[in-house]
Symmetry: C2
Subunit: 246 residues, 2 copies
Amino acid sequence: MTISAANIQTIAFDADDTLWRNEDIFIHAQDEFINLLLPYHDENYVRSHLAEVQIENLQHFGYGIKGFTLSMIETAIELTEGRITGSEIHEIMQLAKCMLSSPVELLPNVAKVLSALQGEYRLLVITKGDLLDQESKLARSGIADQFDTIEIVSNKTADAYQQILQRHAIFVENFLMVGNSLKSDILPVLDIGAQALHIPYHSTWEHEQVTDYTLLRYPQLASLRDIEQLLDWLQQPSFDNHKAIL
Amino acid sequence: MTISAANIQTIAFDADDTLWRNEDIFIHAQDEFINLLLPYHDENYVRSHLAEVQIENLQHFGYGIKGFTLSMIETAIELTEGRITGSEIHEIMQLAKCMLSSPVELLPNVAKVLSALQGEYRLLVITKGDLLDQESKLARSGIADQFDTIEIVSNKTADAYQQILQRHAIFVENFLMVGNSLKSDILPVLDIGAQALHIPYHSTWEHEQVTDYTLLRYPQLASLRDIEQLLDWLQQPSFDNHKAIL
């Protein structure tokens, strides 16, 4: 199967861990949280219980820092059988505010890539998480103006992508999604018949990981540093997408 | 100044406390929260401190149940100087989950009003709050299909309305917003030169209240029960908007 990059007119970028660092902020907060609970339980136990509570709570709270914070609080209460103190929970609240005000650190070459693509392609951001938090990060990123449209969704399903394409009158054959998460940015986009370019991030939240690699039917780029390769690829009349670019 | 209702082609409805009951859920949760803290402080003190924390936290957490829950937890910790127990905070977490799964109770005549307007007008929902929570309420409301477009925003500013109108190629003179909050649904819409119809709800969150009524330049309807009056009003060639309909 080959896909044609020559047809691409719209390029949508995931935001967290594609345009800017994000997972590191969660990893750091999680480490602080584990330190807080070390007097009660060992690291692995805390880590795995937090992961369970988080996944269970996605249906209630969705993605984002507020839901993550509520899950940390719930985990702390459960793992201490209610013995956690108000002051310790106060520290978790402080972690949340710290996460929300973390500086937005663009990944290497993002600004350069966007400048190169602007004018040639219609550029979108498609991101999931808390509305206010994602808007605030975009505003602080300094790159919001480079995009024609910003779409913040609660979950990146095939259906969510289809609705976005429909809303903006984009044909699947003209659409490319670029992102770090196979589960959110790549597989649902391939499912609707559009194209996707995977740029792995050095760490990906376990929940976002896909273990079935038998369907490796998307191209991959090591990082946005490789802008020349991205641009080359976009100009190719057709591309064998079984083969990773790098 | 008169406005012409005859030009209206698009009608946007606020959701919380316009299409379905919402503030009651917050009031109930707040009462439970106050009961929880009564062993530490008197009712008025808890109530006013929670309101302060909530307003202060809007910049971090935005509108919605998750932010409200984090504010309840923060208030509980502050007012007990950290003496609140893990089990008591667990009760606050349970309040949150209870709020999130509350049944969506449509206000009287909503379904009838929407049926009467459908086909004649382009119908939108414009609501603010948590993305997942608002989507979930719309899905559970049973009326989502009656709307052409759903817009969930982090804050209802004049700028937010302007962006929505621009995105959907709606001219201000053809746009009517219907809602219960002067601050969110009426004043910013009048500011951009569009029209707004106020349907007060029996209780409005203090933060949403506007005290400067000197600019009463919008029509008001006692409830959506008055559908005939709404439809009559929409068919009038011009309307003196200094005068409330009811």
